[in-house]
């Protein structure tokens, strides 16, 4: 029993769960529409999540570099999505993108410029230079800082860090708030809200090697499932092909190499020091022979080279800039060159090793055009939603969707709240309160080790290349881990910060979400985009459908949905 079962109760119009790019934008837009907002973040405001880590580019059809139209961006998004995008959401993403990029520009984010215009660069899968960025590898930190500054200046938004949302409260089929654990004191916090927005990002923490924050364990998907919402396209986990592998780098994002490649044309080499991308590029009908392998194909190419015994020593590929003069490297990356030198890396003299790394989740919470789920008053945005990016996300779309869907969810949640009065029932939080109060001190299992074993199962059996046998084995292992963990939370300390209790609550979510990925992956007997079945190679036109996951009692159900219905 937790000794500290004191509770705090708060009320608001709109509760936003998660303060990365999407959550911060949602809070700003909801407040702009007149709502009173609580922005809850399990980490610190604007510090957790994936946005702050983005060192990369942001796609929008601004037409600053070359003439462009959002419909061209949409065509590239749909092509990259392997014919599985929810075209309504993809269109919203591409059409609203420029407006949000310009709004961020007005808020002084500092997009890189040249000759008096915002600079846009080419990224894989795009038909023209479309991607903006902040030098040097500072896009994410600059975006986070800009949104945090806006939050500071906005009125009507209460920001609360160290607040872990445990469950959405539902009353009469509508979201009415949430139950939370205040991590720094161990207090239980209940929040009554007229609308709730899930902006918790993706699920990359389910994998051993990942490029996102430690808090991206798929919280929002589990919150949505338990609240009665549906998930869509959950089998599509994007692996970023050239995540840093060796030598060990500290203080840098593992996905940092892409901007280097845009600017300097880094070469991917196998152990024979031979370029191999082109031999795979012919598989991509969109390839024009330049560096245009989309992420799913590049992941495939590197993995196949390793499999054929042509991998680098640490098990990936070499990425080389040795053909680029040192002063050009310096000019392109300024202070980053010094950070690399501090890690003992001189790009002019040596290649680095790279390998695929869990990076992003295309699937997520199913929403309509107002970003509302099938649960009244429950909205979602950012990476937490599914559909816009189909089976494979186009590079540069993640930050754009954080802005666009964040703003849109904030706006519609505020509208919803303006027509509602607070509906609050202690029954709506009863089961979660009971769960938290059942926490008992136990020494086994070691919750941190259990998280590591979930990551092993997912990496080894539900990674980029899947088979029927591996997936069935993963589903069994996950169930066994769940049994070992038990249905009563494990605590380690009497109140206050309790990392074991947080692990247990995370595992409760991670295990549910891991199953919600593995089950539709098992059912989809084809290879499409980020979902590659070694036993079912190639795309099957009959599988041009979405799979929907919902929770019925303790069981996950899967339904197939033809694309024509979705679009």
């Amino acid at each position: 029993m937790l000794p500290e079962t004191a509770t705090t109760h708060l009320k608001t119009d709109v509760l936003v769960v998660g303060a990365g790019g999407a959550g911060m934008y949602a809070a700003l837009e909801a407040a702009r529409a007149g709502a009173d907002v609580i922005l809850a973040e399990r980490s610190l405001i604007g510090r957790g999540g994936a946005t702050v880590m983005a060192q990369m580019t942001v796609a929008a059809a601004l037409g600053e570099q070359t003439p462009d139209h959002w419909e061209h961006h949409l065509a590239d998004t749909i092509a990259a999505g392997r014919d599985l995008c929810d075209e309504r959401l993809a269109a919203i993403l591409c059409e609203d993108g420029p407006r949000r990029i310009r709004e961020m520009d007005a808020w002084k984010v500092g997009w890189a410029r040249e000759d008096g215009h915002i600079r846009q660069v080419q990224a894989p899968g795009h038909d023209r230079p479309r991607c903006v960025y902040v030098d040097f590898l500072s896009t994410g930190p600059a975006v986070s800082r800009t949104l945090r500054t806006r939050l500071n200046d906005a009125s009507g938004i209460r920001r609360i860090g160290d607040l872990l949302i445990v469950d959405i409260a539902v009353h009469d089929g509508a979201a009415c708030g949430a139950t939370a654990l205040h991590i720094s004191t161990g207090r239980i916090v209940t929040i009554a809200a007229k609308a709730v927005i899930i902006a918790t990002g993706g699920l990359t923490r389910l994998y051993r090697r990942n490029s996102a924050s430690s808090n991206m364990g798929g919280d929002g998907y589990a919150l949505a499932l338990r609240a009665g919402a549906e998930l869509i396209d959950m089998e599509f986990v994007q692996f970023f092909p050239i995540g840093h592998l060796a030598p060990r780098l500290v203080g840098m994002d593992p996905i940092m190499w892409d901007p280097f490649r845009y600017k300097l044309g880094g070469k991917l080499l196998n152990s024979e020091m031979r370029e191999f991308e082109e031999s795979y590029a012919s598989r991509d009908i969109r390839s024009d022979g330049r560096y245009v392998l989309t992420r799913d194909l590049a992941t495939y190419a590197i993995s196949k080279e390793v499999e054929a015994g042509r991998g680098s020593p640490a098990g990936g590929a070499y990425l080389s800039f040795q053909h680029v003069p040192p002063d050009e490297i310096r000019r392109a990356f300024g202070p980053v060159v010094d950070r690399l030198a501090a890690n003992g890396i001189d790009l002019a003299r040596q290649p680095v090793e790279v390998a695929p790394i869990a990076h992003y989740h295309m699937g997520g919470i199913r929403v309509g055009e107002t970003l509302e789920t099938r649960v009244a008053g429950l909205f979602a945005c950012g990476e937490a939603i599914g559909g816009a990016n189909g089976a494979n996300r186009l590079s540069g779309n993640a930050i754009t969707e954080a802005f666009v869907f964040g703003a849109r969810a904030g706006h519609h949640a505020a509208l919803h709240a303006s027509k509602q009065s607070i509906v609050w029932s202690p029954d709506a939080v009863g089961p979660t309160m009971d769960l938290l109060r059942r926490a008992t001190r136990r020494d086994t299992p070691n919750t941190a080790a259990v998280i590591a074993s979930v990551q092993s199962v997912m990496s080894d059996k539900v990674g980029p290349f899947r088979t029927d046998g591996k997936l069935r084995s993963a589903i069994e292992s996950l169930a066994a881990i769940g049994n070992e963990l038990g249905s009563d939370p494990i605590a380690s300390s009497p109140g206050g910060v309790d990392p074991v209790l947080v692990d247990w609550l995370d595992l409760r979510n991670m295990l549910l979400v891991a199953q919600a990925v593995a089950l539709p992956a098992l059912a989809r007997t084809e290879s499409r985009g980020a979902h590659q079945r070694e036993d079912y190679p190639g795309l099957d036109d009959g599988w041009g459908i979405h799979q929907i996951v919902e929770l019925a009692g303790a069981k996950l159900n899967i339904k197939a949905l033809s694309r024509r219905v979705a679009a």
Binding site: T8, H9, L10, K11, T12, D36, I38, S43, L44, I45, R47, G48, G49, V52, M53, Q55, G140, P141, N152, R158, R159, I160, G161, D162, L163, H182, S184, T185, R187, V189, A192, S213, S214, N215, P247, R248, L249, V250, G251, M252, D253, P254, N446, T447, A448, A449, I451, A452, S492, S493, G496, V497, D498, P499, V500, D503
Partner: protein, 116 residues
């Protein structure tokens, strides 16, 4: 290679103690890597803050490392003893976790100033 992490532990109002953990590491690994190994292999109740793991983007893993304020994700593990303690000028929450959120991003402020 082996590192010993001598970690100051305890909560607010408690007498602090130092627990030492030995971890095996490969050259290049960070102090944060070591702390995560301690939790996974020895003591999951060890409390420290981090979010971004490796990118030095979240800035949450700041602590005293051998007496100097630094980030656990950028300081490398070394052979022999490394002492770790919480930031001295911030309110202690537990072990290496201190209250580093700006005052207006805390629960107590939201409770006192809120419409609720």
């Amino acid at each position: 290679m082996r590192a010993v992490l001598a970690i100051q532990r305890g909560g607010p109002g408690q007498a602090s103690r130092v627990d030492s953990f030995e971890v095996e590491f490969e050259p290049g690994q960070s102090v944060l890597d070591g702390l995560r190994l301690v939790r996974r292999d020895q003591d999951p109740s060890l409390a420290f803050r981090f979010s971004c793991i490796n990118a030095n983007a979240c800035k949450e893993c700041m602590m005293l490392i051998d007496g100097a304020v630094d980030y656990a994700c950028t300081v490398r593990l070394k052979e022999g003893v490394t002492t770790l303690s919480p930031l001295p000028k911030k309110a202690l929450l537990r072990d290496l976790v201190t209250e580093i959120a700006p005052p207006d991003e805390r629960l107590d402020r939201a409770t006192n100033n809120g419409a609720g």
